[in-house]
Symmetry: D2
Subunit: 402 residues, 4 copies
């Protein structure tokens, strides 16, 4: 029999950019007994989470909750709004944008994939001007949707979605705007309504601090309208029946009851703290971690300071150091998990997540593990990043919520 509880003394430090460490308060909520998903209590729960989740997406419009992990919500956004052969404009911000493009292709769409050049291209965010230019060329409006990733989990770059919206508007193009904020939601500011997004995709296992297994589509009227004409086959992901049944707090099929308990608890935690305070907390952590990276004399993966991610930081290795070898050593010696470099970034960098059930000292521990691991791996560091972060945190107390 497999022994799951096999860590040595102490808590494992799970500092990957999601799944994030789940607060005990949420684990406790998830252990409530499963109830009848057609009974009166369930309807009350359903209405409550559907109401509160809208606040987190900053929308007055419906948010569809799927009993499926985040990748499913990508598919849902596409199949609800598009038809076979539809052209979609996507932007290569990193590995996850690439996977989404691959999915669009598999589903029979025709993605155009804008990108900057090579690995360096992955160190910047969405270039709204490139999108605008391409849309202006598309006078026949063959492009049906623009698909971008808000917080690229593989790089630590948080793109400017408002700028993408402006680009579409400036080009006077009717394409839908589909945005993946799977890892951005509830860490970085996000405004579904304010930024005029048509479908926002997100998941449970990042800023919402839940285990994986729930995902979301926040929708606009225009997206719902499009879903009535879209021809890609859809059933499990179809919005229509879900939106109808959600009016009374139910779902057309068995929802993910215990994860909904957890979601309810997570929403209470976030809304009690206040979203702006939550964002400030993550921004501050990110600044502390970048102070460490800079002090080590290493580069942050993201090269545009205006779009540094508050959720994770990619740390580029010095010449001759393999990021995965460092990660493996750190895992074994310090019981700390870091995110691997994905796709074009493989071996070149590792990722530090600063989301979920964290605090200043969790990150000091994390940076300590990184620093020791880098040194043991032979990296020449210019200074002590742990101390830099510690000084940063000491000098910048988190302002209390107003």
């Amino acid at each position: 029999m497999l022994k799951l509880d096999f860590h040595p003394s102490g808590r494992h430090f799970l500092q990957i950019p999601g799944p994030s460490p789940v607060p005990d308060r949420i684990l406790r909520a998830m252990s409530l007994p499963t109830i009848d998903h057609r009974g009166p209590e369930f309807g009350a729960l359903g209405l409550e989470v559907l109401r509160k989740i809208r606040e987190v997406f900053k929308t007055q419009q419906p948010v569809v909750i799927y009993p499926a992990s985040g990748t499913g919500a990508w598919e849902a956004a596409l199949v609800n709004t598009l038809s076979p052969g539809d052209r979609v404009l996507m932007f290569e911000t990193g590995h996850f944008a690439t996977l989404w493009e691959k999915m669009a292709r598999r589903l029979g769409l025709e993605p155009e994939f804008l990108s900057l050049q090579g690995y360096e291209g992955w160190r910047h965010g969405v270039q709204a001007d490139m999108i605008e230019r391409r849309l202006r060329e598309d006078s026949g409006h063959t492009i049906k949707a623009v698909c971008v990733v808000h917080n690229e989990t593989s790089t630590g770059v948080t793109s400017n979605i408002a700028a993408v919206r402006r680009a579409i508007d400036e080009a006077r193009h009717p394409a839908l705007l589909l945005v993946d904020t799977i890892s951005g939601l509830a860490c970085a500011d996000y405004q579904h309504d304010g930024w005029g997004v048509d479908v926002t995709i997100s998941g449970s296992q990042k800023g919402l601090m839940l285990p994986p297994g729930i995902s979301f589509n926040a929708v606009s009227d225009k997206a719902v309208e499009a879903s009535r004409r879209a021809q890609l086959p859809k059933s499990f992901w179809a919005w229509d029946e879900i939106l109808e049944l959600n009016k009374s707090g139910y779902w057309p099929y068995t929802p993910n009851t215990n994860l909904l308990y957890g979601l309810n608890e997570a929403l209470d935690m976030l809304l009690e703290e206040g979203l702006e305070q939550v964002f400030a907390r993550h921004q501050r952590w990110a600044a502390g971690v970048r102070a460490a990276v800079e002090c080590w004399g290493l580069e942050v993966q993201c090269q545009d300071p205006s779009v540094y991610s508050p959720v994770l930081t990619g740390v580029v290795m010095p010449e001759g150091i393999d990021a995965d070898a460092v990660r493996s050593l750190i895992y074994k010696r310090f019981d700390l998990s870091l995110g691997t470099g994905l796709g074009k970034a493989k071996g070149k960098m590792f990722r530090i997540g600063h989301l979920g059930d964290c605090n200043d000292l969790t990150l000091i521990a994390t940076l300590g593990g990184c620093e020791a691991g880098l040194k043991l791996s032979g990296a020449k560091l210019q200074g002590s990043g742990v101390l830099a972060a510690l000084d940063y945190f000491a000098a910048h107390p988190l302002a209390a919520a107003s």
Copy 2:
């Protein structure tokens, strides 16, 4: 803030035919900390559950695990094996067969829906001879798949899948056999390999005793072969990448980590007890519950004793008694949830689940609540079903596992 923990004193009796009551042992396993789904521990967990789950499906072939609820696995079975416009032969055993047929239609397939007549038709299982007859007529082999439900959760009828297999073989028809045993698996005997099933669909929240959120496709070589040519768009549900990555215990996207912990525990519980013992346990409970229904002078929904379900029992109301009014009264007075009549059975019957974290006395309590609720609702009962069941259980001790 919504208070989820709002039951009065004592445990709620959740005796619907799924989601079933989750054993504390599984809830505890699910509360283990979420780990890195790309780390070494996860691979070990993945291989372990993928190995053990095959034993429960009685198969040597792969079982695909989706981080999505059971309805998704229905869709997965169809989109992996079929192409737009494909004809599929389905059988109307009840509400869930009807929903699956509706899904097939939405996805652009052309289902033919065999059925017996009206509500009474829902009181019998799949008629293999009707299937055989239809397949013999289909000399051009336009029918690409036969889709049947093993344990119809809306009626309490467990169809004979081996007979369906024989029907296909007798007709010398190449159609794939797709079987939904969402509520049958790990309660009623099921043999994916032995019965020559091509795709078996199941879910977590019934015999596996987990909360909803995980679902399964057990596949045959023939099904995998078909998936290479099938033209329905698929990405999230696509078997190919999952099967490839599963070889090392991983998934192409974020799996449902904490539910996999629960699954691992559930599999240990089932395999430690022994599957045949598990089946005997459910058969015995079902017999006790039917003894109660008979003693009340009421009818069991299923009218063919050879296919009584070991998972749930549908109780048909006497004339003039509305099943949902009885259920509601029982819920309020006795903190007991029963399954509602669905579709054609609406109001005519309620369903007693005897699965999940149950024992003899749980069922005595359940039958007590039913008996009192029926009497308070004005039903004239011929005798005491509680006593009949108690006598049955006393007279038929469960033989120890060999």
Copy 3:
């Protein structure tokens, strides 16, 4: 390695008169992380539980909380108020009264043990007139305390404490009144102030629905006064330092942090429901269980209907039936634990607890197990107690709290 989680399918029915089944809500509270017992959060917790626990004892006076099980609180009551050789008047209501008397003797006191005759004596409560008579004889006031058990857990008799108070007052005797309500508190009405009790002893694992490990002394001014002169050695149990530190919510030594979390939750549950509602709930359950016993044609251990216990019911076996053999059979066949007959009642009766995390159907299940077990053991029953209880519960809905 011992496997603790070794029950077969379903929840064990723990229907002994304590430790009672612990609600999951309390188990969840107990799993909160242990905190610094000298830190600011702890003080807030301490003040909160010390305030709320007084409501449950119906007192304005302090309640001392010990990180020790109930037997320790017996000792605490004695050593704080008495001196070596002091005479105390006790009453033999059953096994626990007998154990307390034995403890008094071990500690160097001189107990006088009033009792009715033999086993039959254990079927009645405290006889206040006997106490009054004895106190009147004690013109020299050599008796320093009267010690009685409120709810005798070994018999299911709840004595009239107000009558004992009146007896002492009528006799114009200065003896202290010490009352054990370990199993009565939070099930049966209890009034520390209203009944003029000097020291009330209680524990966590009965009506408070916690695991064992915490116990209580509610004290009067007179008792505190006595503690200043009492000469029995005391340190761990000494009230003085505890009362002093409790003023700020702390304890002189390490308190039982996680059980205090559970206590806080239990108090919230009880006070939200309302104590009178809690008492009514237990009285109703007891009436239902007695209806079952009567219908079986068996005797309730308690022979004075004015002092039937709302907490537990002793069921006297018919001639020739050994209670422990019945209990053992029921345990093995129905996964149900009942209380054994203790002391003089050994083998003659078993005890059904109706306290803790229970509801009507829990008790129907319990009575079902008893009925089947009695029949399998050869007892001739006159009727079906399960049905009698079911009819009782159906006919007597619990009035909603006002």
Copy 4:
């Protein structure tokens, strides 16, 4: 209603020298349902923990487990072995030795309290030669017991118990040897049999990693013999009935069931890892923490390197810095609890616990919080202790258990 779960994001760092952080594995074990303490399962559990706990005390003799916190076990050791007016020789190693001496006085014993001078005296361990000298003077053998603290939790000094044993033997004195290892057990090596201890006192909330609420007396034949003649009143603490009932795995009164579940789990964890490995782990942590203190240019409370505690480290403040002000700042800014200076050490030092559910990075985080807090409080530090500890841990990997 008090909200217990009120920490901000992330786990609180509980680095006091006990109660120690409880591993989730133990919390999960403690949430198993409470069982009948007179039933067959309980007996099996009782025998199992009684067997395994002896391994941790390194004894073949019985270990008495009390459902009471550690202070109770101090009292138990005294009342079981001594008589009113008995002279006992104690040694002032710190605050807890002082409290024990006070307890002895309250219980009517006559303690003699050996000590070194003033606050500086608290920076050394038990001076065995002083004990030997005093015992040699006691030619009439009026001293009945020598009472010392193995690991003084208030100072971080671990005394040499074998030396005390030798002192008694050299003096050819028959006094019993009573040793408090409440905070030493399962962190520092301890040998009840090997060191010839008569009564060893311990508790649950330190090296055993449990919440408070259970405590221990390991006894020798000589101690049991003494208990038959000892005249201090005893009942709850009396060994005789407990030892008798323990033979079959039961207790004479209600034991602390759920904490025993936790104890069983803790013992499995410790024995699986191996005690020597456990000790090495704590020694290594202590060395890392001392490296930090030294690098800061501060003093460790303990001034004798041969008796540095592996459990906790006292950090002496520089002139003009109040330790409690630093602690309070660290608590508020970094969500980290440190131990206060007690008694003579009040304000002069704080204590860092390195026990319970810890690992290297937990301690790096802790030292980070200390370093930042000291600097924010105006302390002039000579170097970075965090880096010193990090270097120490990196350079000294924990050898795998053989």
